[in-house]
Amino acid sequence: MDLYEHQARELFEEHGILVPRAEVTDSPKEAREIARRLGGRVVVKAQVKTGGRGKAGGVKLAADPAAAELTARQILGMDIKGHTVGKVMLAQPVDIDSEFYVSYVLDRAAGRFLAIASAEGGMEIEEVAATRPEAVARIPVDPAEGVTSAKAGQIAEAAGLPPQTVDVLVRLWQVLVREDALLVEVNPLVRTAQGHILALDGKVTLDDNARFRQARWGDGTQEHHDPLEAAAAARGLNYVKLDGEVGVIGNGAGLVMSTLDVVAGSGARPANFLDIGGGASARIMADGLSVILSDPAVKSVFVNVFGGITACDAVADGIVAAVDSIRLTKPLVVRLDGNNAARGRAILQERAHPLVEQATTMDGAARRAAQLARTA
């Protein structure tokens, strides 16, 4: 889960990293009050979980409280790369002497976290890395040792950062570890004209797997903007809405991704990703089908199950229970293979629902579902 800038700022502050004074609001009127409290002149920043805010007009300087209200009114509700701005952060402007870049990021290939730092902050770090790779220091961190003062000194020196950044580098590592983050990025980290080191903007990505020991951020279900995704999440389903017409249900993320590709290869577009996992009980199947069938764009549904641990007869029982408990209005193409497939197919054949048909191969099932979607 990605945090908003203001949440990242809060975390940094909790861990003793200096940040500009700032407050968050969703109301232009309150923005005026906040600006007054912060001394009048403020930076108004859209709170969205995407980059390129500045270029999109989501970050503006307001000279006084009245201007802050006006600017907040402009930015709130703005669309930035498909994200609607629901909140703005108002921050005290900072007198910048120099800007740096620092982050800790997961290096998947090495299986470790990497410190990335550069004395050329404030701009797109990819650009710096592409044009002047020597200006970007990348230093792997031993998970057992972490970032000690000595290690932080090494990172700062390699990147050409001033010695005052060492303390921030140590504290940022503490944010990464204590919060179970996969990414902590500060860009820019600035030295003010007064010589203080401040985190001016931050990005933090938390590890969803660590929710069991990081309860403060909730379960993340509020993240779904699409109503179908929200309905699926409420039922504990791993569902992603896409913009096609063939609904897809399968077991296992890899097989479902593969199913989307096979549907696309058959000349149709998948309407969703839905992984019912290993269990595939009647209830999960019914829940999944009802979410998919409530999508008006769906014209046909492809159920693709390979019985590994799951037995196909149990899956077939689930499909029968599902079509009997909900009103099936769209054709279903079912492909069952693997463990107990013959018994599973027999169960569906016996139920003989007019809208449920079977296919023997994944490719054949995809073609049939695509054809049904076209003629619907």
């Binding site: 980059g51 990021v105 290939a109 998948p270 590994g308």
Partner: protein, 293 residues
């Protein structure tokens, strides 16, 4: 021969007495796996009867190794305890730890894979189905009855796609199938398995299954070009999947690749790997290649 797992392998199960552990230990035994013990400090000294096969429970991995000579452990413990379980196994210097557990925090995985590597313990997983050498041994949750022994080696991030390809090629058979797991950090990579298959006399051809995210497949492609002389057939899932969570600016720098299915397919094809568009076509490419060879 096969890789990492043979009929000689002596397998411990950490978390054997839990629900998943019981279910899959029974299946592993039925597949002929030499399960020599379970590990649970609170149930040390007891035994568990699996349809007539009695398996002892040890208080620690070290005790299990001392009593049985075990050289593989399969880990089924819940996510919160996985780090401690693998750390204990590595301290006991077990050569192979297969971590089935799903949902382990990445910081824990980084810690225990690093710790294990420093102690000579290979970790497969986490969040993986394990590995199977058909006809010999099965360490994990891969169904043992899909296919038989044969000349194909398989390495995959995805469990169900592994089963699908095993099924498509069930009449040909496999030397070893390894599910390396789909988490961002895993103990054993595609490359580790390619290297082992290259050296395995029982393996004539390798099937490599990848999916979007990271750059493991691109790295595997570079490795194949330099070091693998056996034919490799690839399959990548996720051409139409929506863009996943990005890791911010810094992530793109580290991976050096967009992590898209197209990028992976191109990298593999540039290394001479034939890449199927569907699992079925991938199986057909395997058959063609074997016939030609």
């Amino acid at each position: 021969m096969a890789i990492h797992l043979t009929k000689e392998s002596k397998v411990l199960v950490q978390g054997m007495t839990g629900g998943e552990g019981m279910k899959h230990t029974r299946r592993m035994l039925a597949a002929g796996t030499h399960v020599v013990g379970g590990v649970n400090p609170r149930k040390a000294g007891r035994t568990v009867d699996f349809d007539g096969q009695v398996v002892p429970v040890f208080g620690s991995v070290a005790d299990g190794i001392r009593s049985t000579g075990a050289d593989v452990t399969v880990v089924f413990v819940p996510p919160a305890f996985a780090k401690a379980a693998v750390t204990e196994a590595a301290d006991a210097r077990i050569p192979l730890a297969v971590v089935i557990t799903e949902g382990i925090p990445v910081h824990d995985t980084v810690a225990f894979t690093t710790y294990a590597a420093e102690r000579g313990t290979r970790v497969i997983g986490p969040n993986c189905p394990g590995l199977i050498t058909p006809g010999q041994s099965n360490a994990g949750i891969i169904p043992a009855d899909i296919t038989k022994p044969g000349p194909v080696g398989l390495v995959s991030k995805s469990g169900t796609l592994t089963y699908q390809l095993m099924y498509e090629l069930r009449d040909i058979g496999f030397s070893t199938c390894v599910g390396i797991g789909g988490d961002p950090v895993v103990g054993t990579s595609h490359i580790d398995c390619l290297a082992a298959f290259q050296d395995d006399p029982d393996t004539e051809l390798v099937v490599l299954i990848g999916e979007i995210g990271g750059d493991a497949e691109e790295r595997a492609a570079a490795y194949i070009r330099e070091h693998v002389t056996k034919p490799v057939v690839g399959y990548i899932a996720g051409f139409t999947a929506p863009e996943g969570r990005t890791m911010g600016h810094a992530g793109a720098i580290v991976s050096g690749s967009a992590g898209t299915a197209h990028a992976k397919q191109e990298a593999l094809e540039a290394a001479g790997v034939r890449v199927g568009r569907t699992p079925t076509e991938t199986a057909r490419l395997v058959l063609e290649t074997l016939r030609r060879g």
